[in-house]
């Protein structure tokens, strides 16, 4: 049995309104990925994570707890759970990932910093002011709450003097670049995915050797990465934000051949992630279909969204290795 949709949506909305995120995590956890990187605080150009990669292990634990709850007699008391959650952060007790899980999720933003520095870009960071974008709440139709939250994000970016926000996941990119301008007056932040920044920094010679949508022979690469990978496009990057060529150009320039699955680019197939919070079984079935499409091409697959990575990895159950594109790009240059 599924939990009561309105109550679950209500809890997520209450969390955003009261605690700044649909799934609040402690500040020290959200910023732990910055340790030792000596990032500048604020400035005109910052890396904006929107906490998405950091949130993934918490989402996984919460979904697992939700599934247990849905199969128990307690499922009838979600309304009571919502009332309690207004006073005490219930979700904090439902899902506490292990240190290993947390640190694995922190690797992506650290790798993005390394890649940007390799391209000559030194971004600042907002640390505890790097707020969640509100993406899930927006998808659920909680527009007023998201608009209020977006105003908080806007105020923070103004206070830090941010003109350009470099994002690291498709959902935060979409919210800040496409949705915020519809919710806010005077939103003037230039928002770019790090993939767009890196692709823009490719030397012309690299760009010429890159061959998107082709299947060049595998090139030797350093490190332990694969020479040819199946690429899973994020729906949000490909269809909402038009980020299709950039990952292909970057992989090709790094000497990694891209193998296209049955549905690719703007016709990519969803990983099922957006359904996970409310309908985990449907999310899993959708992910399994996508894994089959990718597996037909390669057992080495690359994603560019934290939700795609976790959903597809779970559905593959070890039959296919999924890695984030930042890891593959760093690995290809022999620097993880």
């Amino acid at each position: 049995m599924a939990l009561a949709t309105a109550d679950v949506v209500g809890i997520l909305g209450d969390n955003l309104r009261l605690r700044g995120s649909v799934l609040p995590i402690p500040n020290r956890r959200a910023v732990h990925w910055t340790r030792g990187l000596e990032l500048r605080r604020g400035g005109a150009t910052v890396l904006y994570t929107g906490q998405m990669y950091q949130l993934v292990p918490y989402i996984e634990r919460l979904v697992a707890a939700e599934q247990q709850l849905a199969d128990s007699p307690l499922a009838r008391f979600t309304g009571l759970g919502r009332r309690v959650n207004r006073i005490v952060n219930v979700s904090a007790f439902m899902g506490r990932p292990s240190r290993t899980e947390r640190e694995r999720s922190e690797e992506a933003p650290r790798r993005v910093v390394a890649l940007l520095r390799g391209a000559g870009v030194e971004p600042g960071c907002l640390f505890e002011d790097d707020l969640y974008s509100g993406t899930l709440a927006y998808d659920l139709g909680l527009d007023e709450l998201v608009a209020a939250h977006a105003r908080r994000v806007q105020a923070v970016l103004r206070r830090h003097g941010v003109r350009t926000a470099i994002t690291i996941d498709p959902h935060t990119t979409h919210m800040l670049r496409t949705i915020y301008p519809t919710l806010l007056d005077g939103w003037d932040v230039d928002v770019r995915s790090y993939l767009e920044v890196l692709a823009g920094a490719l030397a012309p010679a690299d760009a010429l050797t890159a061959a998107p949508y082709a299947s060049p022979p595998p090139a030797p690469v350093s490190g332990s990465g694969a020479a040819a990978v199946a690429l899973h496009d994020s729906c949000v990057y490909a269809r909402h934000e038009g980020v299709v060529e950039e990952p292909r150009r970057l992989l090709a320039a790094a000497g990694v051949a891209v193998l296209e699955p049955e549905q690719a680019g703007k016709f990519t197939w969803c990983c099922g992630g957006p359904a996970e919070a409310l309908f985990p079984e449907r999310a899993l079935a959708t992910a399994q279909q996508r894994v089959a499409q990718l597996r037909a091409v390669s057992s080495e697959c690359v994603t560019m969204c934290p939700l795609c990575l976790v959903n597809l990895s779970k559905a593959a159950d070890g039959a296919v290795r999924f890695r984030d594109i930042a890891e593959v790009l760093l690995d290809a240059r022999g620097d993880r």
Partner: protein, 103 residues
Amino acid sequence: MTALATVGGAALGDKLRALGAFDAETCMSCGICTATCPLGIDVLPRQLLRHAALGLEQRIRDEQEVVFSCLLCRACEQSCPAGVHIAQDIRLLRRWLLEQGGE
């Protein structure tokens, strides 16, 4: 469009347009969206949008789980010959359902 919107006795389309840019009435009901939907639920999204365009509020309430199941992945929009903003329409249905008090 007016005739369609009033068949169900309620101008649901007007209520949804008050919430945002609702455009389900431009749907030609060809079904390409349903054929391309990863979820494979026959109601999603063609029948759902038809119910909304016809003002069939109770049918939308009955399909609440389907409304919230949609991935908003826009695979349907990529192939829609009428250019319907399907994901936005689904989001507006969610807003309307939440304002109705949900389940």
